[in-house]
Amino acid sequence: MTDDVILQVKDLKTYFKLDEGLLKAVDGVSFDIKKGRTLGIVGESGSGKSVTNLAIMKLIPSPPGWIAGGEVLLHGKDILKMSDTEIREIRGNKISMIFQDPMTCLNPFLRISTQMIETIVLHQGLDKKAAKDKAIEMLKLAGIPAPEKRIDQYPHQFSGGMRQRVMIAMALSCNPEILIADEPTTALDVTIQAQILELINELSERLGTAVILITHSLGVVAGMCDEICVMYAGRIVEKANADQIFGEPKHPYTMGLIKSVPRLDKTTKERLYSIPGQPPNVINLPDCCPFFPRCEYAKDICKQKYPPVSGISTGRSVACWLYGGGN
């Protein structure tokens, strides 16, 4: 079982020192990535999803940020303790990332070919000619028509969806073990979102890549993820496999997220549900459940102490005072 685990994130903490105070953007996050599987990380904007994944790659802008604790074990070896040279061996090679806004994530001054070839040459030791062939092959896989021609163009000559395809092709060009996709469809047209998700799904399956899919909407992860982590204010509040999350959500926040997914089988004219209140300000957060002001089940204890993480069954846990005081 554990042989399948490629990456273990253990109690990861990432803080930012801001003028307003200490921002604990990620505060004790743990999860495992298994070979070829897809993990969804879901939460409202500002909950620390991007920071978690930038920390895995040690890409936190510093100052103001730093990794305040935890381990990121890739095949048992802690990435956070590696030298810069060792980490560069991993970035783009073992773990690659694609980001939210394909319009700004490609360098506007360099041809697609330059940007793709540099990665392949760096990690695969191919010469430029072979690297270009490989790049063209990846673009073709990613569904870009006439890739031999398109590869010599600049990013502005591509539409948003096409640019995200280029990003995917580039990210997968060195056969990474893990692809981190940070809200890959949020900036795209609705019609294109499904195509991009389908592409990630299909390519990762074909290449055997594990995927971390970050999103703020449970609807996006529904069909794609094996496991789901729900994040709130820098912590994972519920972790379970996809069926359990949708079938019997435990945390009130997860229930809220599920209710706010638009559903086709409901034909009421009601407005789409949204969780009342605002996402919390996590600067100088006191010890309490940060969700209590928005929670309909809030008790006194919720205002005084962060709930312990209770294991419910293997691989399933929730951090909420509704489920006992831990065990």
Partner: protein, 309 residues
């Protein structure tokens, strides 16, 4: 691209036409005249002088005559330096000013970019603080202070360089150093600040994060992914900078006794030497619009997002 260049070149014609016309009439509006300063000139002599230079004719007639001369490249005689034509005066002074301005701007650009890069990469460390303090001095201290201070230190005290003079003298190219440094200083300061800010902005950009996430070394990230985008704003600053540096050279030329066009320019304005003023305005403007044009074309080559139609 070729089409764009031709169109831009053609658009220089109306621009120059407007400049010539406006200057011609504006100069005449200013009170005084070329001969009114010379006291004691008998009325009859003044009349004869005006007649000699066709200045007794109606203004519009003079304008047409002048325009015709300009079209064949003749700027007419100087009213003050009676032994030389305007063409000769400009041909003597202008190249010196251009040499000084070009050297100064090249110096400012090169040093400014280098210091800007250093500052940005060492943000908030002593290298950054000292470079930016120097830049504040460069921007706030006027040329007529910087020039004499440099003269005092490097020429009078250290005796490394000549106090004044020009490249055709015995001291040769050495004479170029102090005036070029003086003239370059404020532009160096501005370019250093501009490139620092611009590099810092690009360093935070999404595409640089992508480059890092691919495992590229910091050196390659800077050279390949940061510099080009960050230095583009400098290119577009070079056009206006050239305009400024040419104007600034008037001050520097008089501090260092450089036989440039700056000194004649000031004199000609005070003397109401109409043909000389016009000649200088035309040559300057032609030069500046050409520089701006070249900068635009260069920018287009550097930024792939710009499509010339």
């Amino acid at each position: 691209m070729a089409k764009y260049i031709i169109r831009r070149l053609l658009s220089l014609i109306p621009t120059m036409f407007i400049i010539i016309t406006l200057s011609f009439f504006l100069i005449r509006v200013a009170p005084g005249g070329p001969f009114s300063g010379e006291k004691g000139l008998p009325e009859q002599v003044q009349q004869n002088l005006l007649k000699k230079y066709h200045m007794d004719e109606p203004l519009f007639r003079q304008y047409l005559r002048y325009f015709g001369d300009v079209l064949i490249g003749n700027f007419g005689p100087s009213l003050r330096y009676k032994e030389s034509s305007v063409n000769e005066l400009i041909a003597q002074g202008f190249p010196n000013s251009i040499i000084l301005g070009t050297v100064a701007l090249a110096l400012a650009t090169f040093a400014g970019i280098c210091v800007g890069i250093l500052s940005a990469l060492k943000q908030n460390r002593w290298q950054d603080y000292s470079a930016m303090s120097l830049a504040v001095i460069g921007i706030s201290v006027p040329l007529f202070v910087i020039g004499p201070v440099l003269q005092l230190v490097f020429a009078m005290n250290l005796k490394w360089l000549p106090v004044s003079g020009w490249i055709f003298s015995r001291a040769g190219l050495k004479t170029l150093i102090l005036p070029a440094l003086t003239l370059a200083f404020p532009y160096f300061a501005y370019i250093a600040r501009l490139s620092r800010a611009s590099i810092l902005e690009v360093l935070r950009s999404d595409y640089v994060r992508t480059a890092r996430s691919k495992g590229l070394s910091e050196g390659i990230v800077i050279r390949r992914h940061v510099l080009k985008g960050a230095l583009l704003p400098i290119v577009s600053y070079l056009g206006p900078a050239f305009a400024g540096i040419i104007t600034g050279s008037i001050v520097v030329e008089s501090i260092f006794f450089i036989p440039g066009i700056g000194k004649i320019f000031v004199q000609s304005a005070l003397n109401r030497d109409y043909p000389l003023i016009m000649g200088e305005v035309i040559v300057y403007s032609l030069f500046l619009v050409t520089m701006n044009f070249l900068v635009d074309v260069l920018y287009g080559f550097l930024d792939p997002r710009i499509a010339y139609k």
